[in-house]
Amino acid sequence: MSDHAGPSILPAEMRSASLRGYIFGFAGSIVLTVAAYLLVIGHASTNGGLLPALVLLAMVQFAVQLVFFLHLNTRTQQRWRLHMLGAMVIVVLILVIGSLWIMGNLNARMTPAQKQQYMSAQGGL
């Protein structure tokens, strides 16, 4: 197997790496991080919109890092990376949302006696 180092030995998937891309990814991530941080530190009253805002900022930063750090795009030769990501996201969503729904349901449906037992075992929630 040839082992020459050459001008474009970077694997094909990494060809879309560029200085501008990394700078944009870095700057974008910092902005999104600090924004989320300030929202939490700065918010005084209970604001119902905080949770969706945090989730949105996280999702956007997720996408920014996928594109600019992990070079995930539809142009690359291997579209399969995108497919596997999609499959993983589906499994993760089912696992996390499913677990929250099921466990929440179980907790909500305790009888008073079970609640009593659970609470004392919890040491008073």
């Binding site: 197997m1 040839s2 082992d3 020459h4 180092a5 050459g6 001008p7 474009s8 030995i9 970077l10 694997p11 094909a12 998937e13 990494m14 790496a17 560029s18 891309g21 990394y22 990814g25 870095f26 991530s29 910092i30 991080t33 600090v34 989320a36 941080y37 929202l39 939490v40 530190i41 918010h43 905080l50 949770l51 945090l54 989730v55 900022l57 996280a58 930063q61 997720f62 890092q65 996928l66 750090f69 992990l70 030769q77 291997q78 399969w80 990376r81 596997m84 990501l85 499959a87 993983m88 499994v91 993760v92 696992l95 996390v96 677990s99 929250l100 919890q122 040491g123 008073g124 929630l125």
Partner: protein
């Protein structure tokens, strides 16, 4: 590997491209399964988040400025790694090693904030045995820290390799795989930062 050989370069033959593509895709698939592993830990954390058993809740033990610093350090380390990748593309071995060293140092800085933080929680009696919430917190964040540690070990091995044999095709493939791993850890940290620290501090 002499400069002359490097300059002579050579086009990548089909087999090398095939090997690279397979290695990268295979490693990507492994990363997807590692995401499912973290999802299991996140699900557990979400379920046990309020089970404080009379002990402290998140907002009482999180040092938010410190967490912000950790996050920025990790982001910067992803950036320096990216600069290392660009240097590899330009065949500048010394720069590659320099950026790797910077990434390594930043990774160590991250751990040097996180580990003493864990230690102080333990010494004040709030270890993983205190409550379900703390069990989940230490395990989730600790698993991420364990991944960072392994990444740093890998980085050290790769640095030694590159210094020994230069920017060969194999080494460039390896540092590409490590870049996927390192950026993936940054991705997971976004969710830890948001779900554990921000939501914990805001009590949502």
């Amino acid at each position: 590997m002499s400069a002359a050989e490097l300059a002579a370069g050579g086009h990548a033959d089909a087999r090398d491209i095939e090997v690279d593509a397979k290695a990268i895709f295979g490693f990507w698939v492994y990363l997807m399964t590692d995401c499912v592993l973290f999802a299991g830990l996140f699900a557990t954390y979400a379920v046990l988040r309020d089970n404080t058993f009379g002990g402290p809740a998140g907002y009482q033990i999180f040092n938010m400025p410190e967490v912000l610093v950790e996050t920025l350090v990790l982001l910067m380390s992803s950036f320096t790694y990216g600069l290392g990748v660009l240097a590899a593309r330009g065949n500048r071995e010394a720069q590659v090693l320099g950026w790797f060293a910077a990434t390594f140092v930043l990774g160590l800085v991250f751990l040097s904030i996180e580990v003493p933080d864990f230690h102080s929680l333990v010494t004040q009696g709030n270890s993983w045995t205190r409550s379900g919430f703390l069990s989940a917190y230490f395990t989730l964040v600790g698993t991420h820290g364990l991944h960072i540690t392994i990444g740093l070990l890998w980085m050290a091995v790769l640095v030694v390799r590159v210094r020994r044999t230069g920017l060969t095709r194999g080494n460039v493939r390896r540092l590409t795989l490590l870049s996927l791993f390192w950026h993936f850890l940054d991705l997971v940290w976004i969710f830890i930062f948001t779900i554990v620290y921000l939501m914990g501090a805001a009590r949502v």
